[in-house]
Symmetry: C2
DNA sequence: CCTTGACTTGAAGTTGACTTCAACTTTTAT
DNA sequence: ATAAAAGTTGAAGTCAACTTCAAGTCAAGG
């Protein structure tokens, strides 16, 4: 496939594909003349990248977890750490979703009174602390 | 409370607090001399902002959902839409976490063969398409 | 009274993830 | 054969969310 075909099939712009290649997240199989050619596997890789991004991972982190060929990296501990992080995120997202639904449904004028809303705030507060760690932690994955 | 007190209690730097105030996410109760004073409620608001960010919302979106006083905005549909988006995200994150744990455990050399990994890729692919909607959708919340 | 330290401002700098641009080379269609 | 469409490059621009900086204000303690 040429770059336009990949772009068409995945919705990822050609400029982004070149950018990803430069960053080492995907690899072209070579050139036909001056133009890049991509194998079908790149479609899966791009899906994986997109999923990783949705999970809040940076491109550098994603690159650390998967080979440019799309296979998971050998560093099992890294993968497990990421899974743990994602699970923690899921917990907070659940609280958020629940809180939003409650806020939409509850006709109470002052949510400061409402126990459900308070629970949301409590979850939020604990999350706030974690957040400060996150960026530091993610940059130094080992130990 | 003065700005340093808020920063100390929440972990949010003073510079960020000023930035949030300029953006209209929080409000000071006024000035004592030249210095900002904040009511206790601002602590909850900051927790809420942090939670919103963890859910992947931009500051502009968060401002749209809550008044600067911290009360949820009247637009119930907006809140529900956000909750739906977050739930969809949770689904994909679960797939991601599960997939990562599997990848860490599975000694198979080629994950292209493995049904669990394939499931992850499928979840990723469906997400990849959604992602392109997201930004457009969020910018035009109504209809 | 005067220094010190916390606060103020607007402006400029930073980072990650891209996008856009200018200038150029290839393909492809007529 | 030639012109338009699509690809290439490196460099520069954009955007969100902050942070840092320079220059200044002000209250409190010695």
């Amino acid at each position: 496939m040429d770059i336009a075909e990949v772009a068409k099939r995945t919705g990822v712009p050609a400029s982004t594909l070149r950018y990803y290649e430069k960053k080492g997240l995907i690899a072209s199989t070579g050139r036909q003349g001056i133009r890049r050619r991509f194998a079908d596997g790149v479609l899966d890789q791009l899906a994986l990248i997109s999923l990783g991004q949705a999970a809040g991972l940076s491109l550098d982190e994603i690159r650390a977890m998967f080979t440019p060929g799309g296979e998971p990296n050998i560093d099992r501990q890294l993968l497990l750490n990421k899974a743990d992080e994602i699970d923690a995120l899921i917990k907070r997202l659940k609280a958020m979703s629940h809180g939003l639904r409650h806020a939409a449904a509850c006709p109470a004028p002052s949510h400061a009174e409402c126990p459900t809303f308070k629970k949301l705030l409590k979850a939020a507060a604990s999350g706030a602390i974690e957040r400060r760690w996150k960026s530091a932690e993610l940059k130094r994955p080992g130990k």
